[in-house]
Symmetry: C2
Subunit: 894 residues, 2 copies
């Protein structure tokens, strides 16, 4: 047991001085430290004191208070009495206090508060006398007993409300406010009886007893299940504890020159520099929250109480100048006197965050670094996509996973071919149970994608994010019926051609066409992003498979391509049959024939990308997926074949289908993710990689001949041993040099590079050897996460990952946020070992984590040269990289 | 360039003294160092000298010889001339020498030899005069020119043989020996012409030129492709280099009191203490090898040349006493004088190795440690299984992979049900394209298993090894036709019921019943294994799923069970329907009902094992495989359903099948290996694990009540994060304690343990956290290898691993021999991190590597407490563990 007897456990604020300040948030909590700070700033704050978070931690661990805490609290109650000229429990002019929790970070609604503490059957009369308002006094008393019952004893608030309802009936009152002194007196008694009956205790008339009961209740509320859950979700350590603030009560509901309000020093929605907030005359804080009366706009206070308004806005300015940020304040006006009850940093929308940061820089309040730190990168998502008009109220038809952000409206279409056909003329939304690589063209033509199965890393989700297209995945509420061409949700049926709208950020589906608002990337956004670029040292590239995606990413500030997946190109209608010929070829020369047809097509693909990325590096990954992905669906074929056989179909046709089935089965794999894919294909069929590399360098030479500055980088996937890379590097080098030699132009050999992905644990563990053969590494953290966890992306989310996340077995989805503890170790090992043998090694990441802020920060710490992400996440990565830079030193050992 | 001028580069032997000795193998090679040693032992060795391996390395790196090598060689040639009283190139009595390679370890046939060097048109006459045998002299000359042409110039031997054939025709000779002096003289000229025409050089008449050409040729043969490949396969470093031995020629073909032979000091086949070998009178070494004349047994030498025989056997005794091991020697008798040309350690069968080791201990030649080191653990496999009678010549019908060692004969049966039915009465061999868990009972009933698909880790291979049953897998030569109930190989058809024989060690298939010999575990074997047990500190357990397997393993010396797979028990005919009910249950209570039926069955299984393993630990792994493995085959169902639909089958039946298909599809996974299996099942369905643990402890208590000493260890599979273990440990603990509390007996809580498998990279990487919750770790290196490499066992071998091994992209199959470089890093990390937070952690391995000697040695180095392997590999593991112990210190840091 820690000895806290020599430690200061209680801090006083009042009389223009606070013993604490805003930097003592760890000890005094956020609310408390700012009450001290405001007091020190000469702002009128009701005096009080703060019991430290250390006391909470001590109490939580030991179940009792530290020695001499009681004395310290008593001493400070004495100071408070002296300050206020009132006595606690005095029947003439009693001191009344509030007891409020206040942790380091705000945990809204998670912990408890007790107001009007100090009232009993005697002091209530003193309060009545002092305020000259018996009804007010008894109303305060009624509220106190109710709060005590709820917070200290743990009774249901509904029970008390029931008693109030009964009382209103008895007195024929419609509103609480119509209850008179008698009624309130009766209620106080009934409340006490309820407390005593339920809890088996006497309601404490002694204020000091009330005080200690309430302090203890607040400390204990730190450990209630709700608060524990909240902390776990928000990564708040349990050992932080909460402080308790004991503060003199002030009342905004004592008459016409009273009031209460909340305000922001700037508009938290738009960021505009104007006061924003609302207030109620003659009301307590809870009345504003309860929504019984409609509050007025803060600007009306200027008319209602011009002096108070002037004081308040002066405080706003003072606070902004002092805190250098937007403040969110609570205030109360008692008898014309303004009291500040809270100030804290104001939450804001992404748009507001950017405007406020830029404005404050222009106002000279903050520097550029601070401005860049002020915007949470993740929130940029709001700005980069269409959104449902926030002013519209919508009914949610069904909810799934927000798999790719943005809003989209369109007619329901089930077949990708059909979507591709009509998608140019009208807006369609592709709705499927799940998508496969054969749906790419349909997804491309649709405004958005909705699937009833699959998780955040299902095919639909991954491809949609890559395309920057809204997607709701795994929407299990919806029953998709391809035969009837309809979807149904809880009995409601929507036919093909009817409109629906999806919100891919929230994962919601709405009926009909819901109005949307466009992305908002204004001048403020551009300025802030430029500052971020000036600050950061880590590069940001994009994952892009087409010239269109590349152009989009360039617009968003990408500095090159970190991953072009060549397989997406293989699914084109004109190509798939050739690809299938290539795959099913039994002899090398048959295969070569198909490859010869594919090469000019691939060349055109690559050329388009080189042209867009003029002067920037373009990393192209050679064929990666298992070949059977390109073949017809096995189940369908099996059914067809069985049907043909049973109905005595054409012998020749049966034989043909049987052959195809046999071919497919030959390529079929139990675990394709761990099967014949990646560089294993290159080892088995060097001619495929040779064709691709030839196409890359033919394209590069043609583009170079037209004046484009090309920087091709050939990336070999799924290497587990340096030998694979050695062999395929030779294949690639030969093909590249042959293509260059045969062309008319000289492209500089020094401008192209051959490297590898590090996406298997063994590659990271043997990176020292691999780096001897590689010019660059790119961490494929999607695959690396799969193998490190032994989780298949395709299966995990549908089968067990949801449960793992719900039950917090894993804190985050490791496919979204890089698992630093496990996968991160391998990334660090890979970087360190790789650089140990090849100090010039360029290292990047091209998994989806490359656009996730916490992961970007990790990549910076691990000393990566760049991150690469889908085009729509490029700004997020830019900002996150700048913030990582500002976050300080890299880890030791790099 | 290293300066070697001060280094001694040439070592002389002769005149009873060698400048080197047997411990200088690294510098002088194996052959050379033993020639020096024998000379020092006073054994008659033709004098000569050795050029060191350092010279080879220098030459390989620099393409030229070190300074003053020439002088050193000249000087030693001088010593040799003096010793022999002959001169090199002397036309009266020329010194003739052989040039032989000799690396540190024997690389048979990989490098080159030149004999009779020093002959030319003049010296040949001198040799003729000295030997009084012109034919002999010209035959030597002919042979020299032929060898020079082959070794130095690189010509095909066939060209020379053609010229000989032509000559025989011309002279009407049948054998080479019938060619006279004239014919040989003509041949010498024709050979020289051939050399000069092909190589464009004059054949060197100058002996010194011949000498240097030949030395260089031998050094260069170190770097020929054949030798490089051999070294890579056998893990011989390229920088070792070869020595060159220049040695005076002696001749065994100069008359009746000449001869040549090879011998072992003991029988290398049986180990019997008797001389073993053969010799030919009037012959050269190559005549013995060529097999033209049938050599005589060495014992006949006693009659033929009693004095020589006496000398020879005295040398045998001297060599054995000196080397303390069986020697394999070459000797030549020239004019009645015995010369020893080579001695080296004799290779031997496993049976001989054991007998020799034990005998030599009894003879006082070696101590127990040395005896234990003398037997290669891997070779024990020969003794532990039935073998094809080695005296029988067999025709191979087809060849596949030697997937599980041993020989088996039986009638061809295709269906497992049928095999199970008739397997008791007659010997059957199960033949399938591949096996699945549904074939277990058929495999169990069969003598052996033959599959036409799948690799060393296919289901058939893994299960067969577990059962200790011979298996040939992936025998693609064989076409299995279930419909016609026959197999065909190259047009040959064998019907069901016909006999075949397989050799699961070699991977061969034979027609008919081939005689076999039984395992040979005699008293010598038992003694040696007891010595091994006394030496080793690392434990050896077994992987066993049934009481029968456990009993077998006990007999082989297992000290406990390291892995009992509970799922094998689920496939029993009486259980599978209940297991399926459990899986397809939609509600927890339905599932519980099925589990309640399974529990008593599982209890009986476990009880049987506890009884067998009385007093030893039994580690039981909770359910691991994906649930769909227990469901009917999806394809078959799909075909059935389609047929029903097309033929207008019964509606109800269709609906039922559709429901089943839907259920199966719900559980179906893209990558089951990375899907919902292992502890993920336990998290999703805690009731399954609860049932299993309850059954384990009910069994333990019942057995304990009957006086059995039970030590149950519950193992939770596929953990990737400590949270999983925390949760499931609680489930297990509760179930265990409940079962114990409800029983009549007290089993000691301290005697049971709960631990986990470490079989995912993340588990190894976060082992420090996991160890806080685990009492033991067991490395599941099969799965760990899969995820570290990203190789699916099910797919890799069929699709690409064979190519990887053929082309030496990977040196070894990582599923057979633990990959120390990659997977091994994770094992080391896991052990170190695990012990860092839990010093009492017990650590073992239960992957198949646990019975592979190199992997066992690694496990010892990594400080594992035990290895666990299939029963038939237990003796191998025991011996390997003892040898690891004798191999010396553990790695630093453990």
């Amino acid at each position: 047991m820690k000895d806290m007897s020599q430690e200061k456990k209680v801090y006083f604020f009042g009389g223009g001085e606070g013993e604490g300040n805003t930097n003592m948030g760890n000890l005094l909590g956020g609310k408390g430290s700012n009450l001290h700070e405001m007091t020190n700033l000469g702002i009128n704050v009701p005096p009080g004191f703060t019991i430290t978070t250390d006391v909470c931690t001590y109490y939580t661990q030991n179940g009792e208070y530290p020695d001499n805490l009681e004395e310290e609290v008593d001493e400070h109650m004495g100071r408070l009495e002296e300050q206020m000229g009132k006595e606690f429990g005095d029947s003439e002019d009693p001191l009344l206090v509030s007891i409020r929790s206040g942790a380091r970070v705000s945990m809204p609604g998670m912990m408890d508060t007790v107001l009007n503490l100090g009232l009993n059957d005697e002091t209530v009369e003193g309060l009545a006398k002092q305020t000259n308002n018996r009804r007010f006094a008894y109303d305060c008393y009624r509220r106190f007993v109710q709060m005590y019952g709820g917070v200290v004893v743990g009774l249901e608030n509904a029970d008390f409300e029931e008693l109030i309802e009964a009382k209103k009936e008895k007195y024929d009152a419609v509103n609480d406010t119509e209850l008179g002194v008698e009624a309130l007196k009766e209620l106080v008694e009934e409340f006490k009886d309820h407390v005593e009956a339920e809890a088996g205790i006497d309601f404490p008339e002694e204020p000091r007893e009330q005080l200690w009961d309430s302090i203890t209740a607040v400390f204990e509320s730190w450990s209630n299940q709700r608060a524990i859950n909240y902390r776990e979700i928000n990564d708040i350590p349990h050992h932080w504890g909460t402080a308790v603030n004991v503060q003199t009560m002030v009342y905004g509901n004592m008459g016409a020159d009273c009031g209460t309000g909340v305000a922001f020093t700037r508009d938290p929605s738009t960021g505009e520099k104007k006061y924003y907030g609302e207030y109620l005359k003659n009301a307590q804080g809870e009345d504003v929250v309860a929504g019984i009366r409609t509050p007025k706009d803060i600007s009306e206070l200027e008319n209602d109480m011009p002096e108070v308004y002037e004081q308040l806005t002066a405080i706003f300015e003072k606070l902004e100048q002092h805190y250098k940020d937007v403040q969110d304040v609570e205030f109360t006006i008692q008898d014309g006197e303004l009291f500040m009850l809270q100030t804290r940093t104001g939450k804001r929308t992404a748009k507001a965050a950017i405007k406020i940061a830029v404005d404050m820089y222009d106002e000279g309040l903050i520097d550029k670094n601070t401005a860049v730190k002020r915007v949470a990168p993740k929130k940029l998502d709001e700005l980069l996509h269409k959104r449902i008009d926030p002013d519209i109220e919508v009914d949610v038809l069904a909810a799934g996973l927000g798999a790719s952000p943005g809003a989209a409206t369109g007619k329901i279409i089930f077949e990708s071919d059909e979507a591709a056909e009509v998608g140019d003329e009208e807006k369609v939304l592709l709705v499927r149970t799940e998508t496969s690589p054969e749906d790419i063209h349909g997804m491309d033509a649709a405004q958005g994608i909705l699937t009833s199965r699959g998780g955040m890393t299902s095919h639909a989700a991954v491809v949609a994010r890559g395309m920057g297209k809204p997607c709701v995945a795994g929407c299990e509420d919806i029953d998709v019926d391809y035969d009837k061409e309809q979807i149904s949700v809880d009995g409601k049926v929507l036919k093909k051609g009817e409109y629906i709208t999806i919100d891919g950020s929230k994962g919601e589906v709405y009926e009909g066409q819901v109005p949307t608002v466009d992305p908002e990337m204004d001048e403020n956004f551009e300025r802030l992003m430029r500052w971020a670029d000036d600050i950061r040292t880590m590069g940001v590239r994009t994952n892009a498979d087409t010239p269109e995606d590349a152009a989009q990413a360039l617009e968003y500030g990408a500095e090159g391509i970190g991953l072009t997946r060549t397989e997406h190109m293989f699914f084109g209608e004109d190509r798939l049959p050739i690809v299938q010929d290539m795959i099913l070829a039994e002899e090398t020369d048959e295969r070569q024939e198909a490859l010869d047809k594919l090469r000019p097509m691939q060349k055109e693909d690559f050329k388009g990308i080189f042209e867009v990325m003029d002067g920037l590096p373009v990393t192209i990954r050679l064929l990666d997926p298992p070949l059977h992905e390109f073949l017809p669906d096995r189940d369908e074929l099996l059914i067809e074949l069985t049907e043909l056989k049973v109905t005595g179909g054409d012998e020749e046709k049966i034989a043909e289908k049987e052959q195809l089935l046999e071919d497919i089965e030959r390529l079929d794999e139990m675990n394709p993710m761990l099967g014949n894919r990646g560089c294993r294909l290159g080892i088995n069929f060097p001619e495929i990689y040779e064709m691709q590399v030839t196409a890359i360098f033919e394209a590069a030479c043609e583009a170079a001949a037209e004046g484009v500055d090309v920087k091709p980088e050939v990336m070999i996937p799924l290497v587990c041993d340096v030998r694979e890379l050695e062999i395929l590097k030779e294949v690639a080098q030969e093909a590249a040099e042959k293509a260059i030699d045969e062309s008319d132009v000289d492209i500089n050999y020094a401008d192209y590079a051959i490297g590898t992905m590090i996406e298997l644990p063994r590659a990271a563990l043997t990176a020292d050897k691999i780096a001897e053969e590689a010019e660059f590494f790119s961490f494929g953290t999607n695959d690396l996460t799969q193998t490190t966890y032994g989780f298949s992306r395709d299966d995990a989310e549908g089968k067990f990952l949801a449960k793992y996340l719900d039950e917090e077995i894993l804190p985050k989805n490791p496919f979204e946020v890089l698992d630093q503890e496990g996968v991160g170790q391998l990334v660090e090992t890979g970087v360190q070992k790789g650089r140990s043998t090849n100090p010039d090694l360029k290292v990047g990441i091209c998994g989806e984590h490359g656009g996730e802020p916490a992961s970007v920060n990790f990549c910076y710490q691990a000393d990566l040269d760049y991150v690469s992400c889908s085009p729509f996440r490029v700004p997020i990565a830019r900002l996150a990289a700048a913030q990582a830079e500002l976050g300080g030193k890299k880890k030791k050992g790099y």
